[in-house]
Amino acid sequence: MRAFAALLLKEEMALFTSPIAYVVLTVFLVIMGYTFTLTLFVSHAPTLDHIFFQIFVLLLLTVPIITMRLVAEERRLRTIETLLAAPVSEVAVVFAKYLASLSLVAVMLALSGVYALTLALLGSPEWGPIWSGYLGLFLLGAALVAVGLFTSSLVGNQVVAALLSLSLFLLLWIIDHFGWLLPDPFDAFVVNLSLLVHFKPFATGSLFLSDAGFFISVALLGLFLSVRALARR
């Protein structure tokens, strides 16, 4: 447990002392602030619906940047050799990297909470959809970070890792459009791979176990494949 705490601390330090974290946070907050203000002035509605879909897109774009260096950089600099010759398991290394990156996503979501507070100050928003929206975003983040970690552990080049996960995310975002074109029963299978299809109910305040199960399954699969990729030496 102490070894895992040391691994997690190392990953958190590496992430939060790198410029990447602050660039991502800044870009995220600037874009979100603009969208929130504009939407509020135009609609005068105390809801965060639009904001949640905006965050959904921004997570697809920023998570690859957060996760690209996780293993790829260690492979390129060969520090992975120093790390894994120590008595630590691949599971511990992967999980520490995963939790550290997920914590940055959590910070992004927590900072966007200021918009919910603003709504509460100016009006009386409905809190149910807000809580479910944040739950959906966190689960989405958990799935995306695991997939990003997997692509980073597949290749030795950070940029390739980022492009690979970005392509995967964009494909999973719009895959339902292709899914509807397929014959039964393939259409349902492909449509159910869509990130947006599973996220929409959360953003509008409907909680389904199947949607949460989808994101959790993707996260577990990503983590499992990351461990396998790291163990393949």
Binding site: R2, A14, R78, T82, L83, L84, A86, P87, V88, R233
Partner: protein
């Protein structure tokens, strides 16, 4: 002494390429083993497998009595490993990195502080303890890499090319350090620099294309025994007499020495120095000096690698 490292018919394949082919050897406690071979001969691969970083394709590996495949974590706790080129976290400060490595090696609380202080003191890292690793010179980087290997006081130390790219002073420093670290520790050291191995190792293993060509103690690794003699009398008569002694394979003037010096080569086990001395004295020559010449590692290395190439050519 018990064997600290046992390697049994070890194979490592990377796809179709075989990096290590059926290597077997054992290392006793306290030995300093030098792994010698050209680049790509499988030295680093063997050391990485011993360090628990690479899984072998087949074969057995035991470190300090623990099967590396069955209990990799326990085996890794007993090994300090310094990878080639000292890959370290450049963004971390030296003391921060050593504390991190101590923690992931299972040390806690006061033990972390004690181990880090010991390693910093042993490697003279006090002046750079607060500096980021990325700003260190190569010599200091190498010392930090060795310092992390010493954390937890492992009984087996593995160093892959520890003096690579260091200047002469740094090489002397690292060499002295490795000597001081040995003793009760078992040290395995890889290098492609012959002089390095000759100065440090008690036993040398020569590898070529993933195969172990020899694993003899230095001084016994030679294909033949050689003696240097200083004998009075005319050179032609001395050489004739030397060649007549049974067991002498060849005799000639020792070009490295002054006049009256000769070099005799025998087949292993064919001739003892006392027999050679008796034969020369009985022939009426004044024998001033007779010493056994240690085989030159460079010659052993070239002879073995060339012999292996010739055998392959014959087989083809």
């Amino acid at each position: 002494m018990p064997d600290m490292v046992i390697v049994d018919t070890l194979f490592k394949r990377y796809g179709p390429r075989v990096a290590v082919r059926g290597v077997s050897f054992a290392v006793a406690e306290g030995e300093i083993i030098g792994l010698l071979g050209p680049n790509g001969s499988g030295k680093s691969t063997i050391l990485r497998m011993l360090a628990g970083y690479l899984p072998p394709t087949s074969g057995g590996l035991r470190v300090a009595g623990i099967d590396v495949a069955a209990d990799s974590l326990a085996a890794r706790r007993r090994v300090g490993y310094v990878p080639e080129d000292a890959p370290l976290y450049d963004g971390m400060r030296v003391s921060e990195f050593l504390r991190f490595m101590a923690a992931i090696k299972g040390l806690a609380g006061k033990a972390v502080r004690g181990a880090v202080e010991m390693a910093v003191g042993r490697l003279d890292l006090e002046p750079v303890a607060g500096m980021p690793i990325g700003k260190l010179s190569r010599g200091y980087r190498q010392r930090v890499a060795i310092a992390q290997a010493l954390l937890g006081d492992p009984p087996v130390l593995i160093l892959d090319e520890p003096t690579n790219a260091l200047d002469a002073y740094q090489v002397i420093g690292v060499r002295a350090l490795v000597r001081s670290l040995a003793g009760r520790r078992t040290v395995l050291l890889a290098s492609h620099v012959l002089a390095e191995i000759e100065r440090l190792a008690t036993r040398v293993m020569i590898l070529r294309d993933g195969e172990l060509l020899t694993s003899d103690a230095l001084g016994e690794a030679g294909p033949a025994r050689r003696f240097r003699l200083r004998v009075g009398g005319p050179a032609s008569a001395v050489l004739t007499a030397l060649r007549e002694v049974s067991g002498v394979a060849s005799a000639g003037l020792d070009t490295a020495g002054s006049e009256g010096r000769y070099l005799v080569e025998t087949a292993p086990g064919q001739l003892r120095p006392a027999d050679l001395a008796r034969a020369m004295v009985s022939r009426g020559f004044a024998l001033d000096e007779l010493v056994e010449a240690r085989p030159d590692l460079e010659q052993v290395f070239l002879a073995l690698t060339q012999r292996a190439s010739a055998a392959e050519a014959r087989a083809a």
